[in-house]
Subunit: 304 residues, 4 copies
């Protein structure tokens, strides 16, 4: 039955694809096939459902911010991470420098570029990228995750804005790690290639409070997972996060590669792939699928 | 036992009182006794617990924004309300005009002054203030709620900033109702006098999805309550909402009168009174009490 | 010969008329005939030249800010006027509230609405409007100047934005005079009806350091005139003032009624009428005429 | 007699020294002797007057922006230079990124860091630094001008903010030249060591419309000089330019090394050295000297 609802969800959302566009800020992302669409659900009961293009590899992009934040919380602790990075939605676009410049000496939150670059600065000296990759594979229950070197190179050759952000962070004393090493690490994390299924795997782990439901092994601390889910809820869908929390009510994080990681707490992990984006940078069909699923399966956190 | 935890909670938070200040922007609020502190919990099981100054009347202030939003959703519907008012945290102070001016033609959300004034403009022509008062008494299960005319008059004689906001809203076509009538309605709603118990009553109704647990009568639609709780979570604690969601994880709304309305979903309503405020305008001991309770009673929405 | 250059100037600028639009923010201004164009020059030698529609009455609008500033300097003195109003170009649009809100407690300068409203607040209690009118007639050597009551009423019924600004100024302690009386005074000054010749008259007075060249009577103090000309230069052409200073180099003040007052220091007063405006609110043909004249007659302040 | 007025000017300004501070953003500038004070005047008649520390070498800093702008206008022409850089005072601090980010795709003007970096990007590929140095010596009539390598290195190791600005400019398509080469050129120009006399020499050249009064050789075009003087007037004294134009009325450019270049048009060049700065970054005694001189010698551009 859930498979059927998922198929329904997919078909209901498909027309939205035409209204969006694939990401164009780097050439490599422009190559995505706008019409691909995939939806995976991994439940606490151990069931795995997939419809559509759920095995297609795509660029994780901003969804990696969730992983980096989780790892930073594990390695450095809550107080250290949030000493230089805020916890508030910025109300601005994800790559804005304005808030950073005007009022605060630190990034608004770890889900926008400036915050994620600061977070990368915390962990880069503590954990080599290879180890991050290995850990990401475990978190996502997907040994196939790798670095997409073409995306990585494409990103690195269009890095001006993020480089500007990073040097501004250095100037403000937020980023104390080497700027270029930090950027390299940040871009590598954005260039991981995942599938809708990888995201469902990660979502399930978070839904289960940090314990792998397959192995029973705890991969992340309870508190880490609580913090991460809350920030996904308040800041995960760029400057559309507030509306998404109302309409959908599921902690989610999107990336401009077309992925959405969603966590129906204590129920299921949801992974989505749909590279056609709305003007805020969220998968347009993905958002529609999540709203549909939220209503059908009563997944809104404040469902009565 | 819960009574004991509540007493503990209160005593744990009491030292924070000294670090805050009572609201000073209108003379009438300055008269509050900084040391008062009250905590009420009304549970889904029908129990009512109170410790401290829970029968002291104080000014509801911004907590009335929750009631006005709920009534607007009931009277005008979701689409109308959010046609001219956004759903995003603003990232700015509650009474800022900047966001309103720079990027958007409408207020960021209904929990900041500009949004609440717009909401008042929707309902003022539809429901007389007397009826709002009667309905508020029912929502809070407190027939003692009334208009504090000294607060009302004090507010009205210090209304310049809100008047500026209202005329800017008129200029932008957001406020189409008469400006002065709208302001009068808005200020009257802010001048209602409640107790910590009134807020616990309202909180319980919201925790129960809009149905009065006492009478079994539905006072608010399911969807209204879902929307209201989500907005309280993302926008309810001024520009500290994001941090509060992480640390406490309970949909809450504070007012500069020192009140906090908190909704532990499907569990209990919590009402707080503590007029000593932090620099963001939230009851300083109130926040501490909620964080303590959240940990002790495991009330965080993403508690594992 | 100068008459010939003026005719040339007018014809050279005429094609620009088609690229602009008459002001539309109040209905009364929309009625202006976009094709009208007039240019008057009054020289220190006592010559008066006029070509085109120089006797057509139109609304002075923002050019009245120059007169109000001059009168405020005379009545209250330099230090008082600039205690609550700045001297810096704002870099923003003339009716913006952003700067006022973000960084400063006071308006950037007296040539933007917020600054001129503050200035009106200084003088309204000191000089009745009738007396302002009489003095304006003397400054402009034009006894025909009067209040256009249709413009005045049209303005008053579209006053929301200026009212918002005025109440924000009250809130910030900048405006201490009665808000509604101040606004009324401000709007009346904007609703005076002048001609290109009136503006040339005022320009000549300023070019001559405040002494009427006809009667030899000093109407404004030397220092007042020096201050006024400098502010016209740095802030007179809305957010195009910097470019205008470079390209034209003549202290000027424009109004959305289509007028421009220009002061070729120690040489001549120039009055322009051309109600077709560019997107910054400056007479589009007027600017072109001034640039042409500046080159032909070598009027740039830093002409080598 | 002028020598006497100059001595008077210096002594009148000396007490202000105590109220400021030397620049501290790079260690090398912190070493300046706060009490040094020098004033040089070179007149059109060929007289050269100096009082105080006018032969002390100090870092030219932002005053080099005037030279770079002049050279860019000569090499690329007016339209090219102002295609990507504005002509408006920004109303913000000299090193702000806000305006750049919010409203415009280009820097507000060539006197703030972002604008000057863009200008450096125009000229760096066209003229090697050595040649710039030689030309600067000619403009200032001072063969002793050289690169202060300690300042240069100190700047380069505190370059984060300017690097952020430069990469943001690259991101916006304003800076098309190599970023690191551009920054290097920009910093070298800021690290030239001049004296109050060098600045008086440059000021005299500008006062004389671009022709060396000594040799009669034209070094800069008339139009270049006209543009440069106007921009100095509207944007030369950081975010205090408007007030300075009113109070002093002499096109000037200050640098955080403590220098001020001032141009009393058609009369004299004025060079000032006084490293104690006000909070806007202008030489505090320097400003006072210029105001004093302006009054004594009637140098205000709109002096009646």
């Amino acid at each position: 039955m859930i498979q059927e609802i998922m198929r329904e969800t997919l078909e209901n959302a498909r027309p939205a694809v035409a209204q969006g566009e694939v990401a164009s800020y780097i050439p490599e992302l422009k190559k995505a096939d706008k019409n691909q669409l995939g939806l995976s659900i991994f439940t606490m009961e151990g069931e795995r459902y997939s419809v559509g293009d759920t095995k297609v590899r795509f660029s994780i992009q901003s969804i990696s911010k969730v992983i980096s934040l989780a790892v930073a919380l594990e390695l450095c602790g809550f107080e250290t991470v949030f000493d230089q990075v805020g916890m508030e939605p910025s109300g601005d676009a994800f790559n804005s420098l304005v808030k950073l410049e005007i009022s605060d000496s630190h990034p608004s939150n770890p889900m926008i570029n400036s915050g994620a670059i600061a977070v990368s600065g915390y962990i880069e000296p503590k954990i080599p990228f290879d180890q991050m990759l290995t850990f990401t594979r475990r978190l996502c229950m997907d040994p196939g995750i790798g670095l997409d070197s073409r995306v990585y190179e494409s990103e690195m050759s269009h890095i001006s804005r993020n480089r500007a952000i990073a040097y501004l962070l250095e100037n403000k004393g937020v980023l104390r790690n080497d700027v270029e090493r930090t950027l390299d690490f940040y871009v590598k994390m954005c260039s991981l290639s995942v599938t809708a299924e990888s995201l469902a795997g990660l979502g399930l782990l978070l839904a289960n409070g940090g314990v792998s439901p397959e192995t029973g092994v705890r991969l992340l601390k309870k508190k880490t997972v609580k913090v991460v889910k809350t920030i996904m809820l308040t800041c995960g869908m760029y400057d559309g996060s507030g509306e998404f929390a109302i309409r959908v009510g599921i902690p989610s994080k999107s990336g401009v590669g077309g992925g959405i990681l969603a966590v129906a707490d204590k129920k299921m992990g949801i992974g989505i792939f749909g590279p056609s984006l709305d003007e805020k940078g969220n998968s347009i069909a993905g958002e529609r699928m999540l709203q549909y699923l939220s209503e059908k399966l009563k997944l809104h956190m404040f469902e009565a």
